[in-house]
Amino acid sequence: MSIVLRQGLIIGPTSSVIGDVLVVDGTIADVGPAIDAPSDAYEVDARDCWVGPGFVDLHTHLREPGREAAETIESGARAGALGGYCALVAMPNTEPCLDNVATVSYVLARGATTPLDICVAGAITQGRRGEALAPMAEMAALGVRLFSDDGIGVRDPSVMRRALLYANPLGVRLAQHCEDEQLAGGGTMNEGALSSRLGLTGRPALAEELMVMRDLELVRATGAAMHFLHLSTARSVALVVAARAQGLRVTFEIAPHHFTLDEQCCEGYDPAFKVHPPLRTRDDVAALVAALRRGDVDAVATDHAPHAPELKDLPFDEAPAGMLGLEHAASLTYEALGAPQCDPAVFFQVMSRGPAAIAQLRREDAPPRHSAHGGSVAPGEDANLTVFSPSTHWTVSRSALASRSMNTPYDGRELSGRVRATIAKGRLVVDQEVLT
């Protein structure tokens, strides 16, 4: 089976060139100005499109096992493919949670039946309870490279320090959801004048920033590597950027909702806008966008968090936190990067190359692994490619999403730029903006 992408702008880490890409048997066979493809090759018209390494999402809640009504590994993979993703890192807060070989193996096995590479982030602590460490070495032997108790942070500093010390020689990376739950105090939106007026308990920026500060010091003390999940405040980002510049082995991601939506969205008490960490102030949104444009951000990650519709029909404080992300993350990132002036190299850096490096999915990373992601568009590379059309405009419709859930905060919003085709593990899974 061969696929040829015709006349797209091929995005390299530093330069871009218009040309064809030939994929044969799961591998990029040839890249050139005009390739003489085999007669049976499937042709994809990539004119006016960007062709780059397939997107990697570091932060997907696939809900399986446990809450298949909201999402399954299969439906999440379809949503991811439509969003241009070739690899997803499944977060461990399933029921039961991914804190042992059995549940991790289950998700990996289920994931292998989908067209994408489904990776797993294992839990740091047993049951994500923040007490005893989970068997990280056993899970690492299955290929798990990221560990997180996401949904909550590891509250106890001694547990977190031990986890960092244990993880470091295993060559895996801990990923922290930075929010001190005691300080966030059961809050439901950003703490400030608006939460006070709305009578909603706030989650202060401080709850996030304090844990970022603490963990930076733990990283400094242990020498371990660490990834900060969905940073949402200007200060959190500044802290991690500064620490990284000092040589600490830290990376961070930001989520599209945090750089496109602010706390004002909560004014109508619509639970579609409830998320942890919460939507912050306009100034925070501006700071995140600025960091993205400066190239300071390691990765854009979706924190795709499906919830069954009935749960989002509850009052704001009773509804679960989280929103969908996979299917519109690329468009939102493209817009935030200043569409149509968006620099495609930065775009593919935050959507693919950056996250692939953090998830250790590159060719040079130690096996075992899935196919390689986030590399160059060059012969010999595994064929994980995304074709993105910057000139396409489309409107989000919550009932037209591939996800099993509908809790998008962008329903009805017109977006710029859309994934036209996704080639994952050498197969064309999305063509002409629809699943094949």
């Binding site: 009578g199 909603l200 109508g268 008490y269 029909d313 509850l314 009052p315 704001f316």
Partner: protein, 326 residues
């Protein structure tokens, strides 16, 4: 900004204009007279259906609203939460849809979640929604009845009527609100009503019970409780939830009484004409001393009594002016 409640839902007092508030107060004067009649019932809402949905128990507010609706000749559908399917996991949207299917003109909603009234008004845009208290957000009819009571009492003392006093009586009136401002929907509605009417509002509370953004509220923060008691023309006390005084927000109820309770000693130093108000039910011996309660009882009872005419006025303006009956 709502400039008149006619045909409108009442979700919050934040967006209600001075004229609209005065319209409710003036209409309530008419209903005070109706409530003095032998036959305390008028046919204004005959054939209309008002659903009373209390997802959080409050016998007083519920009785007050239902009495008001009945005295306007409306049919009252009353949902008893304990016996409904709400506890079986039915979503708020489904519950409202079920009630709406029975044909209703208005919903009176009490809910423990902030914003529930606004959410319901989105689910059933053709139904008028009267917020009877949502979480820590708003309790607009309490704010209206507190303003009404102040106007009534002060007018009587000046030998005039509330109607004649209009809104001028509130200009520069010094109102002190004491207690758990942070968690209080009553405080939010009271402050909105008083400040819109032109009163000068001070709040006084332990630091943990002040809202985080209090500097953006239309109030000043008093640091000296005793001085403020002398300053005030009206003192509004708030109920302190016992769990907030158990080390969570203040070290103990006794400590709260020590710093912010209206004790006999403090009461003795107040000007005799100062009005003491409380939305009830009172914690005797916590925010207010038992003996002070007895001295202030008349006004507090008047607040309770005014609940019915104020809620009649709100229902009348909101529902009678809402177009054809469904």
């Amino acid at each position: 900004m709502i400039t008149s409640l006619r045909g409108q839902s009442l979700l919050s007092l934040n967006e209600v204009s001075r004229d609209a508030i005065l319209e409710v107060l003036n209409t309530a004067e008419s209903f005070v007279e109706v409530n003095r009649r032998t036959i305390k019932k008028v046919p204004a809402l005959k054939g209309r259906v008002v659903a009373s949905l209390f997802f959080e128990e409050s016998t007083r507010t519920r009785l007050s609203f239902e009495t008001a609706a009945k005295r306007l000749s409306a049919d009252v559908l009353s949902l008893a939460v304990a016996s409904s399917s709400v506890k079986k996991g039915e979503s708020l949207r489904d519950t409202i849809a079920t009630i709406d299917a029975l044909g209703i003109d208005a919903v009176v909603l009490r809910h423990r979640s902030s914003g529930a009234a606004l959410q319901v008004s989105r689910y059933v845009p053709h139904v008028r929604v009267i917020n009877a208290g949502d979480g820590q957000h708003q309790h607009p009819t309490q704010g209206l009845l507190d303003a009404f009571t102040i106007r009534q009492v002060l007018s009587q003392r000046r030998g005039t009527t509330g109607l004649e006093s209009g809104g001028e009586l509130f200009e520069g009136l010094r109102i002190l609100i004491v207690g758990d401002i942070r968690h209080s929907r009553v405080a939010r509605s009271d402050i909105a009503a008083y400040s819109t009417l032109g009163a000068e509002v001070r709040v006084c509370a332990p630091g943990t019970l002040l809202p985080d953004d209090v500097e953006q509220w239309p109030v000043t923060v008093a640091t000296d409780f005793d001085e403020s008691l002398e300053w005030a023309d009206v003192v509004g006390l708030l109920r302190l939830q016992a769990e907030r005084g158990s080390g969570a927000f203040v070290p103990s109820l006794d400590e709260f009484t020590f710093t912010h309770g209206l004790t006999v000693e403090r009461f003795a130093r107040m000007r005799p004409e100062t009005l003491i108000m409380h939305p009830g039910p009172m914690n005797r011996g916590v925010e207010v001393d038992s003996r002070v309660v007895d001295a202030a009882a008349a006004i507090v009872e008047q607040q309770v009594a005014n609940g019915v005419p104020i809620r009649m006025a709100v229902l009348y303006l909101s529902v009678a002016g809402s177009g054809e009956s469904s």
